[in-house]
Assembly symmetry: D2
Homo-oligomer: 366 residues x 4
């Protein structure tokens, strides 16, 4: 069993290799009657597109998405939606030399060990390029959520890049889309840019931490016990290339808290229950509370670097690996729109799962 599908109701199967003719997403289970077109999906793809700045790989791809099925006269029909993105800039030559070598910290060796064969061109299936398909599928989810959960807003941003940390006191949501780092602090952008430039000049790369927030999600979404909202979000984020840690609300810091500190106290407000804090990250018992859902995850540094590292090749010879070609010094940056897409897919999926079982009934308070 390979496993290129995620989601239960809203099921996305991604396909395609970095240097194949195309890649895309096969979306099954989308509600019918959702207004959507290629331009709507394209806006999300444009945000993760390579070649936007010197902070991201210089590979030039228009990443133009085509809807091949499932949409008729501007609306979804309830049938399979096929989204295709053609690979236009492949330059296989760049990658020829890694055909026999394994990059340290990269999936090269494990794909070889598992499958006995791998498409080594640009990392093949293990390339972060696969995430373009996720972003396209996320666009469909965003279109559906726009109609089904109109108050929902999903936004992600960088909170850390190597030694640089976001100063939360200066958090400005409006700044996020104004800079190539998705950084919610306009003043810090130059500093981060200089830092990353130095990393690149040092023939190195660096890790990052991203936070994604969903505001306006209704209470009651999440399927205990094994498809809890936090479980699904953790799986979604951990499935993104190079992610090694995921946190909901307090995350790992919860280990240091006492029960008195951790209790998100409740009072009755004008619109019903109000929480005095949100250490739970908007999820209790795997079910949403109606507070903002907050997820944080860490992305390890790009494993493809110009600094030589010790490794082996298919023949079992020890080699020094230097990875030329076009690679982001910080893959975490482009993980921001990917994480937003994954969160949109998970929330839509949970909305549909909840609608199936409960029909949307809700226990009232007061």
């Amino acid at each position: 069993m390979s496993f290129n599908t995620f989601g239960h109701q809203f099921r996305v199967t991604t396909w395609g290799e970095s240097h194949g003719p195309a890649l895309g997403a096969t979306v099954d289970g989308c509600p019918p009657g959702i207004e959507i077109d290629e331009a709507f999906i394209q806006q999300f793809l444009d945000r993760r597109r390579p070649g936007q700045s010197k902070e991201t790989t210089q590979r030039k791809e228009p990443d133009a998405v085509r809807i091949l099925s499932g949409v008729f006269e501007g609306k979804t029909t309830g049938t399979t939606i096929q989204l295709m993105i053609e690979n236009t800039d492949q330059r296989s030559k760049d990658y020829g030399e890694i055909a026999r070598q394994f990059r340290p910290g990269h999936a090269d060796i494990t794909y070889h060990q598992k499958y006995g064969i791998r498409d080594y061109r640009g990392g093949g299936r293990s390339s972060a390029r696969e995430t373009a398909a996720r972003v396209a599928a996320g666009g469909v989810a965003q279109a559906a959520l726009r109609q089904l959960v109109p108050d929902l807003q999903i936004y992600g941003y960088m909170v850390q890049m190597g030694a640089k940390h976001l100063d939360r006191a200066k958090f400005d949501r409006n700044a996020i889309l104004q800079n190539p780092f998705f950084l919610p602090d306009a003043e810090a952008v130059d500093e981060w840019a200089d830092y990353l430039a130095a990393i690149r000049k040092g023939q190195n790369s660096v890790g990052a931490a991203i936070e994604v927030v969903a505001e306006g999600c209704p209470a009651g979404l999440g399927a205990p016990i094994y498809a809890k909202m936090d479980t699904e979000l953790a799986a979604a984020m951990m499935s993104i290339n190079a992610v090694k840690g995921v946190e909901i609300g307090e995350g790992m810091a919860a280990a240091a808290l006492t029960g008195v500190e951790n209790a998100d106290e409740m009072v009755m407000g004008a619109d019903g229950v109000e929480y005095l804090s949100n250490r739970a990250g908007g999820i209790l018992g795997g079910i949403t509370t109606g507070q903002p859902i907050t997820v944080r995850f860490a992305v390890k540094p790009t494993s493809s670097i110009l600094t030589p590292r010790r490794s082996v090749n298919v023949a079992g010879e020890e080699v020094e690996v230097i990875t030329k070609g076009r690679h982001d010094p910080c893959v975490g940056i482009r993980a921001v729109p990917v994480a937003e897409a994954m969160m949109a897919c998970v929330i839509l999926d949970q909305f549909l799962m909840d609608r199936a079982q409960t029909g949307g009934i809700r226990g009232t308070i007061g």
Copy 2:
């Protein structure tokens, strides 16, 4: 869609409420011919059983498991295995007062909101008692792994309890099962015990961090893209009650690393490829490398505490909640055997998934 099942090939569906007549696990997909009996499973249940010491709830449950199907003459037959644990010590009276109130930081309110009805006795389905069923299912997985992956060893331990941290310099695996904290440092046990006693005396509770390691797992397990070994482990751990963060290898710390630091370099050793470090936690591209798999997760403090907290009730009245009854001051402690069980289930599941697709073929090196 409720979602009480986890796993793809080795599929475990848990059932039962804290104060119902019984709870258990329905296990589908277990290979046939696996030697197993109730005593083998019982040893794992005994490790998480309540009432073992003052560190865990005083609720007295023998937690005796019965195999109702799927095993014949001491071996699995390949059919559904039903594991049942009867609830013998329920004392529903203890819990009567929370029928209308919602404990801050607890699933009481979200279950009510989602389903419009909840079994409030002892937390019903959201009780950590559900994890007994996971441990029983984990016992089946351990029996299968004993035959299919004989070199595999899975062990978990506490690395943090509130303000107390494991001193890794003193790590002693043999100490883990010698103390009620699953602490791999015998010398620190009294200090941790005093700390937790003070927490309880203060009518409080505290969080914890647990680490689980799998040694001897072969390379090649893990199903990219959306059932990666790390994705499945993250989901498995995040599905455990009160878990808010999961890390693989370096985890969140990967955000601070450079590519040079993060690269797990490789050389050729006597038995093939040898890694000079294991920042990846034994997983690259979602597929195991053959190194130890290391997972870490944080458990928030018990939400049921004696210190009054502000909350609301079903009628929409503001109330002060004080939770009497028998509750662990640190639920994280008993999460250790639960996490071991989840890891066993995930590794077996991935072993079977890999066997399905690849037939166990492996790409050779050298």
Copy 3:
């Protein structure tokens, strides 16, 4: 991957062997707030219970169902529902001699070949006894449908038993539950009884054909392309022990029809679209039309008979098999309540699947 689960939203996993301590069904995904108790489920079990008459096996089993989880204060909570039926009358001795032999036409040999081990007591997992668990799960589905699709009525009946055929001109629905054959023709009962008595006296058994009808099912249920209503019903019926053929509407006879004959013409009636015929069996393109859903299936004769048949044993020796013990001369009779249960599960499952994707919206006509 074993596969003891059916359903997508309403997911039933059955467990248990013919002569184990118990068998049952683990039901996941049931909507919350459904009124149900053991007595409601029991009425369905009582209809398939053995030992009711000389037409069915003399094995005496109360088949008393217990609800172990998922129901609180008379209503479903949305969590896993565990249904258990204890085996009280086992008499393993009766079956000892088939431990090494394979009954012709029976699963004995294939279970042995597939798993290398089998619980030979009473056929173990392959026994028709497994269907008791389906009927219990069907009771839960019936309870949910009673609230969600109140107009729905599901009823099955025999249309053939060996050489005996139902005379449709005499169809009387009220007669079905008045005789042990579920025969909708009171006058024919004695004749069928004599026929079956002769079959038994001849140390033989006989096949049967059953028809199941669902009236009052709304239009719009069914999930093209691969979970069509007819696809799911075909799978459900074919999964019942000894079933070898399934027909929807005209069934196999459709091969002889012309397009002019086959077209179910439509007119506008007082309540909207009216069909002038129902050759499609209430399903077009895998989606219900609102007409009665009609399914027919054939059950082969019991393979356990007293007439000696040539076979082999585990040692590879040729043997003559005579199966003593308590066996129905026509297993098809008890397939009637089983098929009703499967149809209830499928329709509920499709109702929930449709609710997930469409939210129950419907395209209007006129």
Copy 4:
């Protein structure tokens, strides 16, 4: 939940509408290292291609398949395989008039009722054109089976077309691919051709029955209880457009048999167990016996005919429907390669499922 996926291990998701830009199949779970290319898949597509003779629709489509992912240097890599077929001959004008009308016996009305929107061009998603994607996916399954189960041979043929029946005494497998009816009797071809010509001249269409056989399938495949080999085959065939009945082995005729007649007796032959008959169609208890697997199914007549039929339109007006355009007078003919493809997918899926659970171990006899 829409449901455009079939299979458990070998999972095929089809996409595309009759008159969209393209259609195809997304194949997940294919074993790695399988030799395959577009030409191999194309041979299967060529057999179902329209426009081959006057017996099938005159729509001219090259139906050229492209492999967009999952294959590298002539072998599968274990990642998602995307197969795309572009629609080159659409002529939407032909279909304009059915935009508001519902063809009797067609999915037009139920798609409208379920989704509130439908792509009416050529039947959109409900068109038999979807089966081209199945045939392409079946080509991948055939390639995998060629390596994994080399003795397996799958072949289908017509056994009935309206009033015409195959004379089994004249069965000649070699004749099947020599005539446009997949008829295993060369002498009868002209007679069938004249019969079908008369049907068309009469502005009518006709149903058909097809039989598919798999020889050389090993014993032990099939996943009781709910993914039995016969259950999966029944679902696979019933999911094909216009199919209304499915039979395994004796099928519906089993209802007339006695146990003595139905018992497939066994003796020991040179190569182990030998069966003296095959009424079970090669499947006992849902598991293959090693005998030929025989499946039969009925296809109803094309609902798009030139003879006027009474119907209604979206406005709720009564209309007379006459369907112009290019339609097969017997859709059953092209169901033959489709059924072969479905059978190949099911057998491969079961082979992989079995490999997962049992590792291919087998209980021996003698």
